[in-house]
Amino acid sequence: MKTAPCFVCKKPSVIHLAYAAQHLCSGCFIKHIEKRFMQSVREFRMINAREHIAIGLSGGKDSVVLLHLLSMLRKKLPFKISAIAIDEGIKGYRNLTLITAKKECKKLKIPLKILSFKKDLNYSLDAIMKKTNKAACSWCGVFRRYLLNLGARQVNADKIAIGHNLDDISQTVLMNIMRNEPLRLVRFLDPLTLNEHLIPRIRPLIRIPEKEIALYAMLKGLEIKFMECPYAHFSFRQHIKEQLNDTEEKYPGTKLRILKSFIEMEKLMRKSLKDKEFVFIPCKKCGEPSSTISCMKCKMLEELSK
C-alpha cells in the first residue's frame, strides 16, 4: 500500500479533501473538523454563555458527533446541554440507534428525553405506513419537527441543535429551488418571525461533509452503526443526494459552493422581506403556532384517523 503524506505534518494520511487539495492524517483531520464546527458556531453566533441547548439526538453518526462536539465546547464555554430523541417507531432501525443515543448520553452525562410517535401521537411510523401510500418522509418530517420542538419546550431549552451536515444543507437548497419554494431557504438559518412556542434551531455541522462526519466518528472510536432507514428509498432527496455526490466527485467543492451562495442569497432575501409580516396563529385544535387555521400536524393526524 502507498498512501500520500499529511499536508500539515507528513504522517500517513487518512483522507484526501479534494475540495481543498489536501491530504490529512488522523490527528490533523480531527483538528480540521473541530475547527470547522467552531467556525460555524462563531460566525452565526449559535451559542451564548449560559444558554440551554437541546440537541435532537437520533443516535446516528451526525447527531452523536454533534453531541460530542457540543460537550467538548462546554469545557470552554459554560452552557447547558439536554438531548431529545424522537422514537418514530421504525422496527429494526430506530430501536437500534436509540441504544447508541442512550449510551452516549450516559457517557457524557447529558440528560436524555425520549418522545415517541406511538405514545405522543398514537401512531408509530410502522403503523402509519401500513395505513397509507404517502411517502414515509412526509409524515415523519412533520411529526418529528413537532415533537422535537415540544420536547425542547418541556425542558425549557433556548435553542435546538440539529445534526444537519453540509450534504443535508446543499441538498435542501437544491430541493427548495427545484420545488420553487425559495421562502423556505430564508427560514433556514434564522426564523423570520420569533414566536415563543417555536424554539430557534442551530446547525453547527453546516460546513462538514457527511463522509467527514462518519470518518471523525470512526477515528474518535464512537460506536455508531452505519445503517439506512428502511423507508429512505425513492425519495426526491435520495435522487438529489446521488446526483450531488456524483457532481462533487467530478467537481470537488460543489457542496461548499452551494452553501456559500445560499448564505449570500439568504442575506439578500431576508433584507427584502424585512417589512413583510409573517404571522402565526394558534392552531384551532392544538394551539401550536401555524400559518393556517389548523396546523399540518393536526391535518395529518386527522387524515390518519379516517
Binding site: M1, A4, K211, A214, L215, F226, S235, Q238
Partner: protein, 63 residues
C-alpha cells in the same frame, strides 16, 4: 483480490491500482464510503495490491 464490502466478503478482478478505480468498478461513490486498508482508513488515491486487506464501508445513506 478479496475485499470486504459492508461486512460481507467478496472477490474482485481488481489486482492493483488506486482505490478510486476499484470503487468505480464496484459502482460506489467516493463521497459515500470509507475504505480501510489493513485496518486503517485511507484516502481513495491510495495504491493497493492483492497483498492488502481491503474493507469498504458505506457510511452515507439515502434521504
Amino acid at each position: 483480490m478479496k475485499i470486504t464490502l459492508n461486512g460481507k466478503k467478496q472477490k474482485s478482478k481488481f489486482k492493483k491500482g488506486k482505490i478510486s478505480v476499484l470503487l468505480s468498478k464496484l459502482s460506489l461513490r467516493t463521497e459515500e464510503v470509507i475504505v480501510k486498508v489493513n485496518g486503517k482508513p485511507v484516502p481513495e488515491d491510495t495504491e493497493i495490491s492483492d497483498k492488502d486487506k481491503v474493507e469498504i464501508i458505506k457510511v452515507v445513506f439515502g434521504g
